[in-house]
């Protein structure tokens, strides 16, 4: 009984992950610039990979083969590492791109970071 419940929960999580990945890829195509696309990529990393990894772990726990706890544990640790590392990656990418000014922040409402950086450079001159 509990195996069935675990399997169903895992399959639901994987289905949600498939949906999130699809939406993220559509967003990557539709969004106008690099920084807005990062938001679509975040949908892909949390909804599209964190959830399905945990879902796969639950399915492994629900089926009956030896060493199933090993698969479950490995997947949980992998999911935690994905959750910890993906913000660091997005942040480093976005910061480097903005500092190098290789991607324009257009369209935009405002860009306070550029204002502050320009101010600092003005002080140096």
């Amino acid at each position: 009984m509990i195996d069935l419940i675990l399997t169903i929960i895992g399959e639901i999580l994987i289905a949600v992950g498939v949906f999130c990945s699809l939406v993220a890829s559509i967003g990557m195509l539709r969004f106008p610039n690099f920084f807005v696309r990062l938001h679509a990529a975040t949908v892909g990393s949390m909804g599209g990979s964190f959830l399905p990894i945990i879902g796969a772990g639950l399915i492994a726990l629900g089926s009956d083969f030896p060493d199933k706890w090993m698969f479950f544990g490995g997947l949980i640790v992998a999911a935690i590492i994905v959750m910890l590392v993906s913000p660091a990656g997005s942040h480093a990418l976005a910061r480097a791109t903005h500092r190098a000014r290789v991607a324009p922040v257009e369209p935009k409402v405002t860009d306070h970071l550029k204002e502050d950086e320009d101010e600092k450079e003005g002080e140096k001159d």
Binding site: D67, M70, V77, I80, I81, L84, V85, P87, A88, H91, A92, R95
Partner: protein, 274 residues
């Protein structure tokens, strides 16, 4: 068209023909195959066979058994190739003294605080995961090579996020050379251990012997606390893990030396006038 072009064209065309022949004429066995080759079936049948212990390795993982038991000598020499490559790396840099950090505040170096703190937390996870991969090499996919390669990710991350000088106190060239030498010593001791045991018990024994053979009645422990240990496989995996991790760390540390400090040395030695 000079001779060089002709030779390289010949090499490319002949390799293309050779591989095509191998695939089309089934020189490497039936590809894609459905059966099992004789050698493979021998290894698979004997790697954990309690009823016929004359060729067994006491490890349920056939790949690890081949790497460190059946083909142990091959792996031994491949390890020495790895060792010599790292020795070559250090020799290329031997003339120079590594520069010391001039900046006192570590916060000025590297990326932002977000990346630094996350790297520290992930670092401890990487150590545990790679150790688990190496220590379960005789039971599940994994082993010394894979664990060491996973461990070598850690110095790359630390060098990128907080600069090389954040590591300097504990992790430097000298300590890495010592740790790698310890790992290699572990491999050497495990390789000679059967001979020593045979000498004590007055039996016949071979180098890199793991379990007892019909003509050599010396065997390393096959189980500890009801868990399969695979005798020498476990010790060799752990030693290889330490050696590979420390060796790659050494290579990355040397590669990440700042270039401007070398330019000064080169100019002093009039080395750059070629």
């Amino acid at each position: 068209m000079n001779t060089k072009t002709v030779i390289s064209l010949l090499v490319i065309i002949s390799s293309l023909l050779a591989i095509s022949y191998a695939i089309a004429d089934q020189a490497t066995g039936v590809i894609p195959q459905t059966g099992l080759r004789n050698l493979a079936s021998f290894y698979l049948e004997n790697t954990l066979n309690p009823s016929n212990k004359s060729y067994w390795t006491a490890s349920p993982e056939a790949t690890s058994a081949i790497v460190w038991d059946y083909r142990g000598f091959d792996t031994f020499f491949e390890t020495s190739v790895f060792y010599l490559a790292i020795v070559g790396c250090t020799l290329v840099f031997e003339l120079y003294e590594p520069p010391k950090s001039k900046t006192t505040k570590q916060t000025e170096l590297g990326l932002t605080i977000i990346v630094k703190v996350i790297t520290k937390i992930v670092g401890i996870l990487i150590v545990c995961v790679s150790a688990s991969i190496a220590l379960h090499g005789q039971l599940t996919p994994g082993g010394g090579f894979q664990g060491g390669a996973a461990l070598a990710v850690l110095p790359i991350l630390f060098i990128i996020t907080m600069s090389r000088f954040a590591l300097d106190r504990k992790v430097n060239d000298t300590s890495m050379i010592i740790i790698r030498a310890l790992g290699l010593c572990g491999i050497g001791i495990t390789v000679i251990l059967p001979l020593f045991l045979g000498f004590i018990t007055n039996n016949n024994a071979y180098i890199i012997q793991n379990q007892m053979k019909p003509d050599a009645l010396v065997s390393l422990p096959s189980t500890i606390a009801d868990k399969m240990m695979g005798g020498s496989l476990w010790m060799l995996n752990v030693s290889e893990y330490i050696a590979v991790g420390a060796g790659f760390t050494l290579a990355f540390l040397l590669l990440s030396l700042p270039e401007r400090s070398f330019k000064k040395i080169l100019e002093e030695e009039k080395y750059a006038t070629y």
